[in-house]
C-alpha cells in the first residue's frame, strides 16, 4: 500500500547512509583510546598511568580472557541454534568493554550486570556453565551474588541502576569509602546499555548517586543499538555528556580497546573508592551479532555497518600488538585457541547434561519465611503430579 496521508519514509540518500555509518562507527575526539584498531599504542597522559603495570604477560592474560569469553559465547549461540538453549544473548564485539571493566574490579567491589555481561561474569570467577541455566530455563541465575560479588542478571531494563546505587550508598554508610580507603575501599559498578539510558530508573540512579556521593561507576556499553532502535532514538547528545547535568564526570572510552577500558574503569573505581563518585563511563562499542538469537538484524541495519566495525575488532588489535610489539609467537595463540576449544567442549557437555528442573522448584524460595498457603499448594500439586508417575 502507498503512504496513507503522505507520511511514507523517503529512502535515505547514499550520503545520508555514509554519514550515518560514520556517526555510529567513530567515537569523536573525546574518545579515550590506548590501543588503535591497528594494534598501535596511542599516547594518553591522563589514562596511561592506570595501565602502567600491564606488561606483556598481563596483555596476554587480557587477550586470553577475550578469546575464551568469545569462544564460550559462540558455543552458547550454537547450542541455542541446536535447540539446547531457548535463547542466547550474544556478547560478540563487546569483549574488550567487558574484560576491561571486569579486570579493573577489585575483589571487594560489587558489580550489577544487565543480561549481556558474560565477560564480566567471567572476571568475577563465574564459570560460563553457570550462565546456561537462565537460557535453558532451569534457573533464574545459579550463582551466589554475595559470594561472587556479582549480582544476578537484571532483565528489566534499567532496574539495576537504582539497586547498584543503593548498594553503593550502603558501602558509604558503612564507612568503606573515603580519603583513607585508597586500595581497600569499596566501589560498585553498574552495567547497562545505550537503550537503558532512557529509563527513569537510570536517571533516578544518577540523581540518587550524586545526592548521596555514592561510590558507583555507571558503565554504559553503547553498542549503538537497542534491539532495532539506533542511538538517536534515545538521545541528542553523546551519552557520556549526560553525566555533567547530574553533577559528575562522564568519560567516553573506546569500548573495543581493552587497555583503555581497563585504564578508565580503574580510574573511575578509584575515584569512587576515594569519595569522588559517581562516575559515568560510556564504552563506545558495537553489538556484532543479533540482539538475541530471536532477533533478525537484517530487518533494521546495514551489513556495511558490521563490516566497518569488524575492522575495529577488540581481539584482533591485541593480537596484532602482541605480535608486532612483543614478537609473540604463534605457539601462544595456538595454546589459547586450544584452551578455548576445551572450554567450549566443556560448556557443551555441561549443557547437554543439565537435568530438567523438578516441579518443586516452582514453589521453592518464594519467601524467606515459608507460607503455609503456598506449602499447601505445593503439596497438593506434587501429590497430583506423582499420580502420573505411578
Amino acid at each position: 500500500m502507498a503512504s496513507f496521508l503522505g507520511f511514507a519514509e523517503p529512502e535515505p540518500t547514499p550520503q545520508q547512509v555514509i554519514a550515518g555509518l560514520r556517526a555510529t562507527a567513530e567515537g569523536g575526539e573525546d574518545l579515550v583510546q590506548l590501543l588503535s584498531p591497528e594494534g598501535e599504542r596511542v599516547t594518553d597522559s591522563r589514562f596511561e598511568p592506570w595501565v602502567a603495570d600491564v606488561d606483556v604477560d598481563r596483555l596476554r592474560a587480557l587477550y586470553r580472557d577475550m578469546v575464551l569469553v568469545r569462544r564460550a559465547d559462540r558455543e552458547a549461540n550454537a547450542l541455542q541454534r541446536q535447540g539446547q538453549l531457548s535463547i542466547w544473548v550474544p556478547l560478540l564485539g563487546q569483549e574488550a568493554a567487558q574484560i576491561g571493566a571486569g579486570r579493573a574490579l577489585m575483589p571487594q567491589d560489587m558489580a550489577f550486570p544487565s543480561y549481556r555481561e558474560h565477560g564480566v561474569a567471567w572476571c568475577r570467577g563465574i564459570d560460563p556453565t553457570e550462565l546456561l541455566g537462565i537460557f535453558r530455563g532451569t534457573d533464574h541465575g545459579s550463582w551466589d551474588p554475595h559470594a561472587t560479588r556479582f549480582h544476578l542478571y537484571t532483565i528489566v531494563i534499567g532496574n539495576q541502576c537504582l539497586n547498584a546505587t543503593g548498594y553503593a550508598m550502603g558501602q558509604r554508610f558503612d564507612g568503606r569509602v573515603g580519603d583513607g580507603e585508597g586500595e581497600t575501599g569499596e566501589a560498585t559498578i553498574c552495567f547497562f546499555g545505550d537503550g537503558a539510558t532512557s529509563q527513569g530508573d537510570v536517571h533516578e540512579g544518577f540523581v540518587w548517586s550524586a545526592v548521596y556521593d555514592a561510590p558507583v561507576v555507571f558503565f554504559c556499553q553503547n553498542n549503538q543499538w537497542a534491539i532495532s532502535e539506533p542511538l538517536e532514538r534515545q538521545t541528542r547528545v553523546p551519552l557520556y555528556q549526560r553525566a555533567r547535568g547530574y553533577g559528575f564526570l562522564g568519560v567516553r572510552v573506546d569500548g573495543n580497546d581493552v587497555l583503555a577500558t581497563l585504564a578508565v574503569t580503574r580510574w573511575a573505581l578509584q575515584e569512587c573508592r576515594t569519595g569522588n563518585g559517581p562516575v559515568l563511563i560510556e564504552a563506545f562499542t558495537y553489538r556484532m551479532d543479533a540482539h538475541t538469537t530471536s532477533d533478525d538484524p537484517s530487518r533494521y541495519r546495514l551489513a556495511e555497518e558490521l563490516e566497518l566495525w569488524k575492522l575495529k575488532d577488540p581481539i584482533e588489535r591485541v593480537r596484532v600488538n602482541l605480535v608486532r610489539t612483543h614478537g609473540e609467537s604463534q605457539e601462544f595463540f595456538d595454546e589459547v585457541a586450544a584452551e578455548s576449544d576445551t572450554l567450549a567442549a566443556r560448556l557443551r557437555a555441561h549443557c547437554l547434561a543439565m537435568p530438567k528442573p523438578k516441579p518443586e522448584r516452582i514453589f521453592s524460595e518464594v519467601y524467606a519465611q515459608s507460607s503455609p498457603l503456598l506449602d499447601a499448594q505445593r503439596d497438593e500439586y506434587l501429590a497430583y503430579h506423582s499420580s502420573f508417575e505411578e
Binding site: 531457548s86 532512557s198 532514538r233 498457603l373
Partner: protein, 332 residues
C-alpha cells in the same frame, strides 16, 4: 473479500491497519514497533505505510510511552501503545494507574482517554524471566481501566479495532503463545462480531462449565473435546465460555450456563489469590447459589513468581489439570 486462513499475529496486524486507515488520529507507539514491526511483528509494515509520525519507535521507557500517550490523548489522538512483554509494563504502571485510569473521572468527563495498551501476556514460549507473566488482575483491580483479552484470531481482529474505538482506556492482553495459531477470518463478515465487553460461549455442553480467557481458551476447548470423546465411558459435555472482558466482567452467559450445568471450573494462567478467577468464583456463587451442585473450582498458575521455563509445563494449566478439576466437580 472472502475468508482466509490467518494467524492471530496477522489478524492483530490487519486490525491495527484497518483502524489506522479509518481514523488518522490513531497512532501506534512503543519499542521496536517501527522498522522491526515489533518483536512479534504485530506492527509489521505499519511504519512503512503510515510513516514515522503515526508509528513511533519510542525511546526505551515504558513510563514515557504511557505518559506521552496520555498527553497525546488529551490532544485528541488515539494512541495504541505496545508493551514489548508483560513483565515490562511496570515502569509504566504509575502512569497507567495515576493518569490513564483517572483522568476522565478527575476531569468530570471533560478529558477522554481513548488509549489502548497492548500487552503480550502469558507463558509457554520458553522465555527468560519477565517474559511470561499474567498481570491482568493488577489492571482489572484498577477502577477506570477496561481490560480485555483475546483468545482466537477472529476475536483478535475485531477486538483490537473495538478497543481502539473505545473512548475509555483499554488494557488489551494478547496471548503470546497463541500468536501463531490460525483460523479462518472473513474481514467482511460482521455476523461474528460481538460487542467488546461481552463474553462468548464457544461450545455448549450440559455437564459442567469451563470459563477462561486468553491463552487457556485453546486448552479449554481441547479439554472439552477430549471429555466429549472419552474412551468408553459416557462422554462428558463441557460448556466453554471465553470471558474476553475482564473488566468489566460480563458474567451473564456464565450465570446462564451454570444455572444449567450446576458446575463451574474457572481456568486462568495467573496466580489464583485475589485474581480475576477469584472474582468470577465469588460472583457466580452469589448469583447462582441455588443452582450450584459443587463449589466453583479454579485451575490456575501457582501463587509464585513465574518459574524458570523448564518448569512452565507444570505451571501452566493443561488439559489434564482442567479435566481433573472437572472430575472433582462432577464427583462432588
Amino acid at each position: 473479500m472472502g475468508a482466509s486462513t490467518i494467524t492471530m499475529a496477522k489478524a492483530l496486524n490487519n486490525g491495527l491497519r484497518a483502524a489506522m486507515e479509518r481514523d488518522p488520529k490513531v497512532l501506534v507507539m512503543g519499542e521496536d514497533v517501527g522498522k522491526l514491526g515489533g518483536v512479534f511483528r504485530i506492527t509489521d509494515g505499519l511504519a512503512k505505510d503510515f510513516g514515522e509520525q503515526r508509528v513511533l519507535d519510542t525511546p526505551l521507557a515504558e513510563s514515557g510511552i504511557i505518559g506521552t500517550a496520555v498527553g497525546l490523548a488529551i490532544r485528541g489522538y488515539r494512541p495504541v501503545c505496545e508493551i514489548q512483554f508483560d513483565g515490562f509494563v511496570f515502569p509504566g504502571y504509575d502512569q497507567i494507574v495515576s493518569q490513564l485510569a483517572k483522568l476522565h473521572y478527575r476531569s468530570q468527563g471533560r478529558v477522554l482517554m481513548p488509549v489502548v495498551v497492548r500487552i503480550p501476556f502469558g507463558g509457554g514460549i520458553g522465555a527468560v524471566e519477565h517474559h511470561s507473566e499474567s498481570p491482568e488482575a493488577l489492571f482489572a483491580h484498577v477502577p477506570g481501566l477496561k481490560v480485555v483479552a483475546c483468545g482466537n484470531p477472529v476475536d483478535a481482529y475485531w477486538m483490537i479495532q473495538q478497543a481502539i474505538e473505545c473512548d475509555d482506556p483499554v488494557i488489551f492482553f494478547e496471548p503470546k503463545r497463541r500468536y501463531w495459531e490460525k483460523a479462518e477470518l472473513d474481514e467482511s463478515d460482521r455476523t461474528v462480531v460481538l460487542p467488546l465487553f461481552r463474553a462468548r460461549v464457544l461450545r455448549s455442553g450440559s455437564h459442567a462449565t469451563l470459563a477462561g480467557y486468553g491463552p487457556v481458551i485453546r486448552t479449554c476447548l481441547d479439554a472439552a473435546a477430549a471429555a466429549s470423546s472419552s474412551h468408553g465411558q459416557s462422554p462428558i459435555e463441557l460448556e466453554v465460555i471465553d470471558l474476553r472482558t475482564l473488566s468489566p466482567l460480563d458474567l451473564a452467559p456464565v450465570y446462564d450456563s451454570v444455572r444449567r450445568t450446576g458446575r463451574l471450573v474457572v481456568v486462568s494462567e495467573a496466580p489464583s489469590e485475589v485474581s480475576v478467577a477469584a472474582e468470577v468464583a465469588a460472583k457466580v456463587q452469589q448469583h447462582c447459589f441455588y443452582s450450584l451442585e459443587a463449589p466453583v473450582l479454579r485451575v490456575t498458575g501457582f501463587d509464585t513468581p513465574y518459574p524458570p521455563s523448564g518448569c512452565e509445563q507444570d505451571y501452566i494449566p493443561d488439559l489434564d489439570r482442567i479435566l481433573e478439576a472437572v472430575d472433582r466437580s462432577l464427583a462432588w
